[in-house]
């Protein structure tokens, strides 16, 4: 799939020299990368590599200690790191969360309608009086939401409460809610975690459909390497908050430093064979 992709040089999101320090921990250390329009860009790395932190920097939950992020919004280039967090969705960046953050005590439909929040055109008083304009806007929002429901086959769950849904469905609902914002850039934090093999395959199809049919750029964090190599155009491997390698999935998987980060070096392995207690090792 990734081979059909035509190389486009337009940069949608550009991170330059990002660093975040939490007290004594350098969670992200001088990371730079560009996400091009129309590609699936994946961050991989062992646990604690700083992948989700990078996501939280883009969605402005954290502020970088140094470095900045530029983003090509609907009205030209903006410095993302200067924007308040609630402005991010309006710029066309939607995200999902690693541990599903849905609105538990609302129906699937309501969850998806909340995804339309940035497109609201009515104010408090119009809502309170439920004017003709509010009614029209509601029906338009519903039509958009129904398109997403069709796209992700969520018809059966439309009126279910999220609190009663199985994990796999919640994962799809979260993806649907992100799509309802009509994003230009979609951030997926571990889309396949907790899914079984079939559900992961569905997810792979949807991600490539999102890229090819909807034309949405995807930036994702993922551990499942089969999913990564199926859908990604480019991969950035991180470890201990720093960049390790960047390239196509195959290049990154073959990179010596990446293998070392995941599996350790030959020295590490041979050191395990020694009979000396662990504490005695340097």
């Amino acid at each position: 799939m990734s081979h059909i992709h035509t190389e486009s040089s337009e940069v949608l999101l550009s991170a330059q020299g990002l660093s975040v320090r939490f007290g004594g921990v350098l969670a992200v250390n001088d990371v730079s990368f560009d996400v091009r329009r129309g590609e699936v860009f994946t961050l991989i790395g062992p646990n604690g590599a700083g992948k989700t932190t990078v996501f939280n920097l883009i969605s402005r939950i954290y502020t970088p200690t140094s470095g900045h992020i530029d983003y090509l919004g609907p009205h030209g280039m903006v410095r993302l790191t200067d924007q308040p967090p609630h402005r991010i969705a309006g710029l066309g960046i939607a995200r999902t969360f690693q541990n599903i953050e849905l609105f538990e005590h609302a129906s699937v439909l309501q969850n998806l309608l909340i995804g339309r929040h940035t497109h609201r055109r009515t104010g408090l008083w119009q809502d309170m009086l439920f004017t003709a304009r509010t009614r029209r806007a509601e029906i338009e929002a519903r039509e958009k939401v129904e398109q997403v429901i069709d796209f992700l086959d969520l018809q059966h769950h439309r009126d279910s409460m999220v609190a009663g849904l199985p994990y796999g469905v919640r994962k799809v609902v979260e993806l649907a809610r992100a799509l309802c914002t009509e994003p230009r850039l979609l951030l997926l934090d571990e889309p396949s975690s907790g899914l079984n093999v079939e559900e992961t395959e569905d997810m792979a199809f949807w991600i490539s459909d999102i890229k090819n049919d909807l034309g949405i750029t995807v930036l994702m964090v993922e551990h499942d390497m089969s999913l990564v190599s199926k859908v990604s155009d480019r991969v950035l491997a991180m470890s201990m908050g720093a960049e390790l390698a960047m390239g196509t999935p195959a290049q990154v998987q073959g990179d010596a430093k990446v293998i070392e980060a995941y599996l350790g070096t030959v020295d590490d392995v041979s050191s395990l064979r020694r009979s000396t207690p662990l504490e005695a090792r340097p």
Binding site: S59, I61, P85, H86, R87, I88, A89, G90, A94, R95, F97, E101, L102, F103, E104, H105, A106, L109, Q110, L113, I114, G115, R116, H117, T118, R120, T122, L124, Q126, D127, M128, L129, F130, T134, R135, A137, E138, I139, A141, R142, E143, E146, M161, A163, G164, P166, R177, T181
Partner: protein, 358 residues
């Protein structure tokens, strides 16, 4: 059982979803309109109190039940509204203007009190609002030149120009109109983007923010709307009770209001009404039961508090969704008769449990 065939998105937006709604709510409306001729004057006065508490309850429901922000000092907003109305009515202002000012002033105070809500959550917000409640109660007692202090303040009946509403029936209809208007406003908000934003904040702030919801703006808005309804309710309360003193707006009143929304059922508009009925009917029931209880129990001062406490504990343990949750179960039982299963409402609970074990 009723199956609704949907052919239009408007069917999901409409207030009355099917013929049953139209029928029962029309019947309720007719009963409320006919109430003055069907009820004794005493019962009508109690019904008026139910309507007033329902307005206040709707406000607190919006804040606690739909935005997830708990206020332990809501009686303060009630007090601000009541005293504003009393002072303006005594100065001869027309009722529509004075009640609007009472609501607006309350809303303004609510916005100020909402400011800590932008920083603190849960129990800490409870403490901040609790402290605010004490400050207002103390302020009402000390600002004697305006409020009359602990000596109290009598309230003139509502008047528009030369037309004075001083009868029980006239005032009942005034409360009914305002209560219906408040209910429609809240129900409309909840089916529109504003209400959904509140629900989003209640369920996941981080996710609401990433959907583009301005947390500070909507939390402040929720506080303001909630306080405005409490202020309007307070203004009606002032006219109904005709004599104000600061101790009517103490922490006991705040806790009563919190009881109202919790026992009514957090997160349901019906709950505000069921809770208001509970709050008005319960003391009457306790008073009636006193005659049948042994004297040592019936005449002891803490009886009402004890009963309230036991009822609250029972609800938290057995029916966390409150009276409205109980009603949903009863309704389902009738709809499905004879196929109702005991575990029907268990499912979400068992999922959460398995989720926690992981």
């Amino acid at each position: 059982m009723r199956f609704i065939f949907k052919t239009d998105y408007d069917q999901d937006i409409r207030l009355a979803k099917h013929g049953g709604h139209v029928f029962w709510y029309s019947l309720l409306g007719l009963a409320l309109l006919a109430a003055p001729w069907l009820m004794s004057e005493y019962a009508l006065a109690q019904l008026t109190f139910v309507l007033i508490y329902a307005i206040v309850g709707l406000g607190l429901m919006l804040l606690a039940g739909f935005t997830g922000l708990f206020s332990l000092g809501h009686a303060a907003f009630l007090g601000v509204g009541a005293y504003t109305e009393a002072v303006l009515a005594n100065a001869g202002w027309p009722f529509p203007v004075s009640i609007a000012i009472a609501g607006l002033l309350s809303a303004a105070v609510g916005m100020v009190v909402g400011l800590p809500a932008l920083r603190v959550k849960g129990i800490y917000l409870g403490m901040a609002t609790l402290a605010f409640g004490f400050i207002v109660e103390e302020g009402l007692a000390r600002w004697e030149s305006v409020t009359g202090g602990n000596a109290g303040l009598s309230v003139a009946p509502p008047a528009i120009g030369g037309w004075v509403i001083d009868g029980t029936v006239g005032f009942y209809f005034l409360c009914l109109v305002l209560c219906v208007a408040a209910t429609l406003a809240i129900v409309n908000l909840l089916r529109a983007p504003t209400g959904r934003a509140f629900v989003a904040i209640r369920d996941s702030e981080i996710s609401a923010q990433s959907m583009g919801i301005h947390l500070a703006r909507y939390k402040t808005l929720s506080f303001a709307l909630s306080a405005a309804l409490a202020g309007i309710g307070g203004a009606l309360y002032a006219h109904k009770i005709q004599f104000l003193s600061p101790d009517q707006f103490s922490i006991i009143q705040s806790i009563d209001l919190l009881l109202l929304v919790v026992i009514g059922g957090l997160g349901s508009v019906h709950g505000a009404f069921l809770g208001a009925i509970f709050l008005i009917v319960m003391p009457q029931l306790i008073a009636a039961a006193k005659d049948y209880l042994p004297e040592s129990v019936g005449q002891s001062t803490g009886l009402q508090g004890t009963v309230y406490g036991l009822v609250l504990i029972a609800f938290v343990l057995f029916e966390p969704m409150g009276l409205y949750g109980r009603w949903l179960k009863v309704r389902t039982w009738f709809q499905l008769f004879p196929f109702y299963r005991k575990g029907m409402f268990k499912r979400q609970k068992s999922f959460q449990k398995s989720d926690r074990l992981k």
